[in-house]
Amino acid sequence: MGLSSLLARVATSRCHVLLVEVPGAASVRMEVQRELVRLGWVEADSPSEADILCVCGAPSGELLGAVDRVWEQLPGPRARTTVVTAEQVARELHGCAERLREPAAQTADAAGRDQRPAEPDDQMDDSDDMNHGGMDHGDMDHGDGNHGGMDHGDMDHGDGDDGMDHGGMDMDMPMPGGIGLAGQEEDRDGLDLDVLHLPLGPVLPSWPAGLVLRCTIQGDVIFSATAELLEGTPAPDPLAADARAFIVHRTDLAGRVLRLAGSDAAAERMYRIRNAALAGEPLGDCRGPLMAELAALKRSVLLRRSLRGVGTIGADSFHAEAGTDAWARLTGWVEGAVRAANGETDAAGVPASWPVQAALLEQLVAGEELSRVRLLVASLDLAPVGTPEVLSR
């Protein structure tokens, strides 16, 4: 088995880690990200990509349920860890890599998994009118090696003359996987097209911790959404008290927007500044790089074009303190961080209550295309909380 352990060793030299952040555990998440950079590992975009599921903070309730379901989607070899304090990070990640390297355990894990996903549980809202009446669960064969695709050859509907008339068909058709078909809704140009329900969050890369945006989409446009915070509302915390926490928080936000906008190089540099501040380097040393980043941002025409006009809000909104659109907020954050590094303190605004923020969010995303929605959500500082752990470091 020398070959397979060699393969395992090479494979785990660059693990892909899917991060889940529990509200209030931002500092743990940042510590994990810092460790990933140090190890040369990669943050995964989706469970299919990931080897390791790293939960930052201890989830409970619905969030735990979501994490468990995502865990089932990791293809394997897989390892899962929950990190609660920053001190555990290096050891836990190392332990995960160790577990990934054990061929026997991983093979056993793979063999022990269900051949098909469990039937939809109570997660599915049975009162939903999209639901099919007579869903006949579980008599479709999703056996392994389904190469040729599904064979519908035997479903011969002899009355080909009116092939479109399937009245009542949906009532007795077994739906694959017990999942219904999309229902329809009218769009602006008078077309009746299908509507999908797409929940965004809580397990989603570069997404605010604990936020769930339950969207209905047609194509890639969000028609309506309801916002919800799992694990309760984070208590707003005056953050201007500590310049370091302020800089860490702001550069973290800026890095998230840059990453979603696809500016990888800029995002990495921004995170590097954040990590330096997190590691306790003198704040004066952050000033130079921050100024350089700000200048680079302002030079980037493409970035400005892609962020201008995204998530535009009125000047009276709480979030407008940083700026009235995503571009203004991004540069505003970095400018604020520069000022903090200079030793100037911004007067902290009073954050809006969660219901107000939720209503704003729901109103902003309606009618927007998915990529703009991701950017605009990232450009709002939904929980302007200085992470207390950082303050004490």
């Binding site: 509907h157 479109m164 694959p176 329809q184 809704e185």
Partner: protein, 191 residues
Amino acid sequence: MLTTVLFIVLALVAVAAGIAVFRTDSMARATYALAASFVAVGAMLLQFNLDYIGVVTILMMVMEMAIMAIFMIMFMGMNPALMPMSMVHNKRGSLLIAGGVFLVLAAGALLVPWPARRGAPAPDLTVSLGEAIMGNKMLVMLTVSPLLFATLVSALVLANPRGRYRPYPKLPAPKQSESGPEHHGHTGGGH
């Protein structure tokens, strides 16, 4: 020998993919089965040394099918992948027409006394095609130009009737309550 085998294989692929268009239950598969059929035909054209026509057939057909898939999936009155469906309308009539056309063409192919080849094909058929388009077949170009322009304008007028002065709303206007909750359904309608 090899060319004959290849020709037969391609012909079979073309026909089989054509049949698959009507046998499958998925709009996506039907569309790309048609594309596969066209690719096989394009490859057969290559066998006749019609390099340009063959390659351009593949190019255009794959592109058109990719676009057609958008419309097929959008405008069919039901789920495009997961419901049994039939691609056949007016079965008897279409069978009759298809059979008739096939017989006429096959009879033509077999019964017409094809003339023997006179002269040799030009060394570069693409060049002669270009010369024909620019030279004695110029009328084609001249008619195609306004035709395409008219297509472009009329297609857009039909697809985007609001024009520049009334931009689309981001969302449909809120529905009146009379229609009631949308039932999940297949309202029918052609594809």
